[in-house]
Every structure is written in structure tokens, then in C-alpha cells.
Amino acid sequence: MTVALIRNKDQHVSVRRSASAWPIGTVGYLVAAIFTGFCLFPFYVILTTALKTETAIFAWPPVWVFKPTLQSFYNALFVFGGRSAISYLINSIVISAVSTILAVVLGAMAAYGFVRFRFAGKRHLAFWILSTRFAPPVAFIVPIYLMVQKAGLLDSHIALILIYTAMNLSLVIWILRGFFAEIPIEIEEAALVDGYSRLQIFWRVAVPLVRPGIVSTAILSAIFSWNEFLYAMVLTQSRAATLPVYLAGFSNSMGLAWGEYMAVGAMAVLPILVFTFAVQKYLVRGLTFGAVK
């Protein structure tokens, strides 16, 4: 008997069982569970290693049951790296937050502009902006380094903020263009007749209607800024240095402080794990929208 894996968003077509020994559902479930385990396991490794004592970390065979200690976290936060990790954490938060806000506001305005207005060169401009998403950042590091140096902005927050805004802009515009295009034009025409100007319609009608899009692009921008490593390492040393720079510092010093190393790693990853779970549904829509559209 054939196996019909027909799924259906609205629930009523069921899966036809195949006659073989392993019902397809169980096999599917098993594969999904194994893959999910594979995805989560490294996070488990980071967290447990950060909580292990020195000996437990290097033990062979690896120790699974151990008495957790916060020593590594304490050292990472207050002892290592001259200044405490707190300032790196704050820099990361400030820089990704400000660059996200800038990217989303400018991006939303531009996306709306592209969807609602016709003007000369629109297709070319849109294609160029789209292509910036594909430009590998490493190709820009040399010229941007010299530009920032000449502007005297090395090791400054503003440099990273502007660069991250530029890097996130194309994704924000690409995703929000899809969301804005879904708004029926009549609703905006009704607002026009009701006495609102084009820009007021943008703020009062269009933006509220794409709130899910704005939330998901904000999340994605924040995550990409938080995770960025190359520019942070090249353009900052201490004052504006972010978490990745602190983490990179560990590997250079090669002092095998694995516990502290993992503690900082955990700090860098945990906020995202918690954050994503809270706003998960926006995220998926934004991520896929950007890709599938």
C-alpha cells in the first residue's frame, strides 16, 4: 500500500499508515528527536563545561555527573581580561540595541518607500540594496578600517553601530517589503480620503499593520549584531569592545582556561536561547520570509 505523506495546515487529512513493520510516524519521530538532540547537545557541552571544576574539564573519560561550581563564571566576570567582562557585555547590548533600532526604522521607511511609490531607477536601486545582503563583510574590512581610522573613530561605539546598521538594513528592507506589500492599497487610500498625508499614513496605518514584521526584523538584526565578530575585533580594543572580542582574546592568550572560556561562551549564547524561545513565532516568519519571498 502506498505511503501518502500528505500534510495539511488545517488538520483534517490524516496520514495513511504503511503496512511495513515500522509505522512511518514513529520512524519520523525518531529521526526528528535524534536531530534535535544533535542540535542541542553542543549547548549542553558549553553550559556543563562552564560549571565543571578544572579537573572535571580535562578528565578522560569525560565526566557526566559532577558538582557544579560557579568559579569559572566568577573569574570570567571579575578577574580575567583586566577589566571585568561586564563592560564587554554592556558594550554588546548597547551596540546591538542601538544598531537594531536604527536598522529597523530606516529599513521600514525604505521598504515602504519601495512598495508604495514608483520613481526612476527604482528597480536598480532595489537590486543594489538587495545585493548588499550578499556582499561578504570580510571584503569591506580593509577600506572600512582605514575610513574609521581616518575618522578617528577606532575603538568607538558609533563606528560599530553604523556598520551594523548598514549590514542589517538590506535584510530589514527585504523582509518588510514583503509585509508592506500585503497591506491592501485601499486601506491607505481610505486614510488618504480621511485626511492623512502620505507620511502620516506610513506611521499611523502601515507600521501598525506590519508589527509582526517589525518585531521579527528587530530580533534578527539584534541577533546578527550581537553575533558579529570580524568588525568588532578589528575596529575595537577595549573601550567599545564587545563579547566576541573578549572571547577572541582568550584563544589568543592560549592560557587553556577552558572553564572561563566556556563561561564567556555561555554568556554570549544564553541570552539568544532564552530570547528566541520567547518570541519564536515572529522569528520563524521573519527568517523564512526573508528567504522564501
Binding site: E186, I187, A190, A191, L192, V193, G195, Y196, Q200, L209
Partner: protein, 370 residues
């Protein structure tokens, strides 16, 4: 309230000439229906009056002001869209109050004035019980009422309606038509109502403007349209079922005139003979309302025959479409005929009330004064 005057309106979208010179006067307080098939330019004309489209040429006067260059807001028009275009993120009260909260009107309405107007408008449209409901949860009829409320709340000089009831199911359509007409009578706003449904236009329009390919075919009251269609297009468009249009050849032997339809020769009857007396052309187009066409032989009234194309029950009447000389002739009968598609059917034509048109221009022949 105000009279609307349209003069020399032209509008083109790339190659398509949507409006090819419209001249129309809409009396103050009148309920006027723009009637025409899709693509006739009726919606474009409405959008030009609203200011959502700029006119390429011509003037639009509302009351005593030329408004063709003004943006929609400055024209003080109210517009109810075909698919309602309500603000999905607001509830009913939010939708009704939205126009009053426009920044440009900040000075005119304070909060409790807005609330008062919202309540009175909601009462007028019997939606005062659902002011706090989100609009997405409303039914089609309720959404239409909110859309009307939003258009009327700021007392527009002209109310524009774009196919307001065509989306509703049959029962609700009848109900909303009555309400729309009574509401307009009570509010008295000059109203322009666009529709493709000729029965709707006849039901609501004090005046009906029949449009085709960007031009006005005829302006008249519902009765005028049925009694004296100005062109063969109007004749073919109005009436339930629409009038049948027949190409007829004129044959004159020894002073007596006869009309040839395919193989059969018909006597024109005294009125038509006088009408066609001075007419030189070989061909004429005649329009016959369904009431003047009946089934079967008998009597001196002439008969033609053709193949049955379709037979449909509409209410208690059987509507039959017969193909005669490449034109569809539609008739109604109460009898229960056992018809199959393709059967040969003889039909009688009573020409006494036939309308006659010049087959080249489609315009109605000047009937001699009778």
C-alpha cells in the same frame, strides 16, 4: 451638500484610454448610479472625483469650487470602498473616529465631540451595539455599515460608493439596498454609486448614467432607460432578461416595406413603417423586450425559429435563449416546457413596441412625434 459638475474629463493609463471625454452634471442631493460593464471607466471616474486618480484633462467642480487639482482631503468627499478597506488594527469606534483624528483636523474636534459624533453615526447605521468589537470579527453587512459610517461621519459634501453591496449574499443585498436609499434620503448628501448590476442601478438611482469604453451612452431616470434606450448598447444592457437585439434587412416592394430576419419576412406594423419611411440604409437593428417575445405559432404576429442555447428557471419563470441568425433572443414563459439544448423552437415577435436603432451608429432612430 453640493452639485457636482464634470466637464471634458480625460484619463489614460498607458495605452488604455479609461475616460474619453466625460461631461456630466449631478444635481445637488441626487442619488446617481454609474452603470456599465467592467472596463467601462465607471470606477475610474469615481476615483477621479475622489482625488485618488488625477485627471489628464477636464474640470471637476464640487459646489462652487474647482477641485481637480486638490488632494482627496481638500475635496471633503466620503468614499466607501468595494471591499470596505476598514483599518484592521482598530475596532469599530477607532475606524469611525479615524477621519476626525486626522492631524489636519486637530483643531476642529475635541475628544468628547468625537465620541458624540461616533455614537450618532453608529446609531444612524444601527451599529451602536458593536462599537468595541474589532472590525475583523464583523460580518459582510456590518463591515459595509462601518465603511459607510466612516465616510459619512465628517458630513462630506459628496458621498461616493464603489459597488457597496455586490459582495453580499442575495438576502442581505435587498436589505442593504433599501437601507442605503433611505439613509441617503435622510442625510441628503449628493451620492454617486458605481455598479455593474442594472437592477441595482434601477432600484437606487434617481438618475442612471450608462457608461461604455470611457464614454457616457445615456443619462436618464430608470423609466426613461427602459422606455426609450438611446443606443442599442443600453437596450441590450437593461431589462431582466435583457432585450434581444436583431439585425434586420429592409426590403421595399411597390411602396410596401418588410423586414427580413434570415429566411422569414416580417411586416413592420404601422408605427415602424412610418418611422422607417424616410430611412435610406439597408440594415437596421431592432431591440425587443422579453415581454414582446413569446413561444409557439399562431395569430398574425410573425414567427422566426432557432436552436435553444440555454433554458434556466429564474423564480417562477423559465428563461429561454434561442439563437436566431447569430443573435441570442431571450424570452420568458410560465409554462413548464420540456426543452433540451439544441431543440428547434419557433418564437413569435411582437414588433409593436420594438425600439429601432441605426445599425452603424447604434443610435436610436428619431421617432416621428406620436
Amino acid at each position: 451638500m453640493a452639485e457636482v459638475q464634470l466637464s471634458g474629463i480625460h484619463k489614460q493609463f498607458g495605452a488604455i484610454r479609461a475616460l474619453r471625454g466625460i461631461d456630466l452634471v449631478i444635481p445637488d442631493g441626487a442619488y446617481v448610479c454609474l452603470l456599465g460593464p467592467s472596463g467601462s471607466g465607471k470606477t475610474t471616474l469615481l476615483r477621479c472625483v475622489a482625488g485618488l486618480e488625477t485627471v489628464d484633462a477636464g474640470h471637476i467642480r464640487i459646489g462652487n469650487r474647482n477641485v481637480e487639482a486638490l488632494e482627496p482631503f481638500a475635496r471633503n468627499v466620503g468614499l466607501a470602498f468595494q471591499n470596505y478597506a476598514l483599518y484592521p488594527h482598530l475596532d469599530v469606534r477607532g475606524n469611525l473616529a479615524f477621519p476626525l483624528r486626522a492631524p489636519r483636523r486637530r483643531a476642529q474636534f475635541d475628544d468628547e465631540e468625537i465620541e458624540r459624533l461616533v455614537r450618532s453615526t453608529a446609531a444612524l447605521l444601527q451599529i451602536d451595539a458593536m462599537l468595541d468589537k474589532p472590525v475583523v470579527t464583523l460580518s459582510g453587512g456590518q463591515k459595509q455599515r462601518v465603511a459607510l459610517g466612516r465616510a459619512l461621519i465628517r458630513n462630506p459634501t459628496v458621498l461616493l460608493l464603489d459597488e457597496p453591496v455586490t459582495h453580499l449574499d442575495a438576502r442581505l443585498q435587498h436589505e442593504m439596498r433599501v437601507e442605503l436609499k433611505l439613509l441617503q434620503r435622510r442625510v441628503g448628501t449628493t451620492t454617486i454609486h458605481v455598479t455593474h448590476d442594472q437592477l441595482e442601478a434601477q432600484a437606487l438611482g434617481d438618475l442612471i448614467v450608462v457608461m461604455r469604453d470611457g464614454l457616457i451612452e445615456q443619462v436618464g431616470s430608470p423609466d426613461e432607460l427602459c422606455a426609450r434606450p438611446a443606443t442599442s448598447f443600453v437596450a441590450g444592457f437593461v431589462g431582466d432578461p435583457p432585450m434581444s437585439l436583431l439585425q434586420v434587412r429592409l426590403e421595399r416592394e411597390g411602396g410596401s416595406l418588410s423586414l427580413r430576419v434570415g429566411k422569414t419576412r416580417l411586416r413592420p406594423g404601422e408605427r415602424l413603417a412610418r418611422l422607417l419611411d424616410g430611412f435610406r440604409d439597408q440594415h437596421v437593428e431592432i431591440a425587443l423586450p422579453a415581454e414582446d417575445i413569446s413561444q409557439g405559432h399562431g395569430g398574425d404576429v410573425q414567427t422566426v425559429s432557432g436552436k435553444v442555447q440555454a433554458h434556466e428557471w429564474v423564480g417562477r419563470e423559465l428563461q429561454i435563449a434561442v439563437m436566431v441568425e447569430r443573435t441570442l433572443v431571450r424570452l420568458r414563459t410560465q409554462q413548464r416546457l420540456d426543452l433540451r439544448i439544441g431543440d428547434e423552437l419557433a418564437i413569435q415577435l411582437n414588433l409593436t413596441r420594438a425600439h429601432v436603432f441605426d445599425s452603424k451608429t447604434g443610435r436610436r432612430l428619431r421617432s416621428s412625434p406620436n
